[in-house]
Subunit: 435 residues, 2 copies
Amino acid sequence: MGHGPQDVHGGVDPHLGRYAARTAGMTASEIRALFAVASRPEVVSLAGGMPNLAALPLRDIAAQTARIIAEDGLAALQYASAQGLPELREQICEVMALEGVRGHPDDVVVTVGSQMGLDLVARLFCDPGDVVLAEGPSYVGALGSFATYQAQVVHVAMDEHGLVPDRLRAALRQARNAGRRVKMLYTIPNFHNPSGVTLAVGRRAEILEICRAYGVLVVEDNPYGLLGFDGRTYPALHSLDPENVVYLGSFSKTFAPGLRVGWVLAPRAVREKLVLAAESATLCPPTLNQMVVSRHLATQDWRGQIDAFRETYRERRDAMLRALEDHLPPGCTWTEPDGGFYVWVRVPEGVDTRAMLPRAVDARVAYASGTGFYTNGLGGRRMRLSYCYPPPGRIREGVRRLAAVLEAEPALAPAFAGPAPRPVAGPRALAPEAV
Amino acid sequence: MGHGPQDVHGGVDPHLGRYAARTAGMTASEIRALFAVASRPEVVSLAGGMPNLAALPLRDIAAQTARIIAEDGLAALQYASAQGLPELREQICEVMALEGVRGHPDDVVVTVGSQMGLDLVARLFCDPGDVVLAEGPSYVGALGSFATYQAQVVHVAMDEHGLVPDRLRAALRQARNAGRRVKMLYTIPNFHNPSGVTLAVGRRAEILEICRAYGVLVVEDNPYGLLGFDGRTYPALHSLDPENVVYLGSFSKTFAPGLRVGWVLAPRAVREKLVLAAESATLCPPTLNQMVVSRHLATQDWRGQIDAFRETYRERRDAMLRALEDHLPPGCTWTEPDGGFYVWVRVPEGVDTRAMLPRAVDARVAYASGTGFYTNGLGGRRMRLSYCYPPPGRIREGVRRLAAVLEAEPALAPAFAGPAPRPVAGPRALAPEAV
């Protein structure tokens, strides 16, 4: 997509000498590049992260939205404050309280999805060459934002209990010894994207203490926290150290992503700068969308709605795990998520998930290759499978197709021929970062 | 707002050592800071740029929006492409064709208001220290975006026919001699914010040629182009040199700002990078909002709607100009806009519009001090008066109050006492940049 002097159409880009240095870090993510082909109806896409919206009461939302426009349209269709509507910011504090966060509405900034929150946080804190620590693997969109502001992401290992405190300490020590400036730890503690792992409660205070000791800000990204399959929630990192944590939230997974309503909760001084940055980015978030979310929270059984989402995703998670057990060839292992959208799969040695992807799409199944979730080239033996969007039958069919593709890979085919004992497939692919 | 080591609450910001260098350029605009106080109902605000939405058919928009959600909600409430919906991008090309633009839908990127377009363009092109040329005065929001990416704005003089080609040449020569890298000319050719002036048609090709000769990209910001009071449109700069112009458009002034739907039309190689930057900024623009605008364009008499807006604003412009003639003290001059939202007023020597503003607010009238529209400290003898939002009676009352405040300024009061002949007040304050 025009990264070199030759653009895709073969011509030389006449603007080439004009771009800012930061554009060198802006590359099309592998995952997005895949979406076009993966969205063909005959392909079972286990690649995307689109929520399943079938459970939404569309007629109610339509009626509520119509009332907002008919009765209060002069406000809903007008500019509003860059920080977001006060009533919505109050409601956001009530939502966050479910995970122990005690935030003040004055310290909430409404954003155009939490992706905009990520962009603003990177904008405020990242100078070129700064280091950002993030789980290995980590969320593609966050990696993109950090690249935009020319920060270098250093991945920190996870295990089945999430980020490993000792590895965090080691990464911080190493960066300090190398004279690097570490600006923040970016982390998704609950039902992690892409690994599906949750940070153990017992590790949370320790990780916060380490970051305090090294003078590093914590950015907590929590889009899935209310989607735990047993209905359990975990104490937000923000609840444990509000002065050193910037919290990112979103209505994309608990209500509707197409409205693009997310938020940032930040310590006061940071929040003041965030509002200025937000104003420079979009003037203000869409007013109508904020009112639709606010009305939904005020008048609907939104917790019941989240329960319904949770039930759907639990059923799909179950279908995914059962299909993996039933079909994946020996040598594959995977995580067992307690919430959220994703399973992280390790494939046998010799299989390259990025190279295999075109063969999978030919076999009418798509996944996200693990390499997209690292900035350091790791992930070639990993893939992310999402169970959020396809119904259970499609999930099973997708995994069946994927298993057939895996079994046909040259690295595996001989193993089936030979008599040697083979490793057993199973859950809990530990240490998601180690290839 | 926390720009120094002490934040507004008197405490030291514990995050102070962590911010990126670019945050030094993020300051609260004088104009936004004023909005809170200016929005008190007893104050006549001639300060803001809020469109008057009273002419919108709210019940129709409510019904259309409800149908979109009820019938197509699974798409409207879901993520969509970062570039924007294909159907809307086609319609945007039809809108732009009214001003002679021949754009392809593939080269349109839908943004969260054209402010986001500005942010993305600055992000793509501005390295720290780069020079951006802009009219003097220029749009506050653009100055903020350039500051965010640490570019330096150099103002180029305007007269009553807009940007002065010779001054543009001189600025480019001077920058070249100083070894500065000029990245772009940012210009609002039609019904300029804040000056109200339109770039003469005869100057357009010349300005484009100058920019070509110096290898400088042109960024054309055109939110008001369809709001000419005699119904006349002007050839867009893009129509004259599509390969060297990035065009920014918006539905905020012709439909509804609260939906935050704007767009960028860019040469293909630039557009490819814009889509990546947009994805990193917000993942995608709100889907519902795009569908609401698209439905409006497809099913409503949107040109008739723009005619109605135009008629409203023409009536208010007339009320404003008449009130200025009737009330402003001698020595004041002003521009006479043929479209858009703003009149640019020059006050007599000795009056400082920024210092006077609190006295004006005490007298229950607000305006935007000229200093906010420059990055170089000019504008102290200028103010922007907007006639877009208050009805004609309020505009007259506001100008009466403003005139009384001006007459009470120490610099003017003695003049009224003395017998010396006084300069006459009148329209056409030329050379808006010269203080």
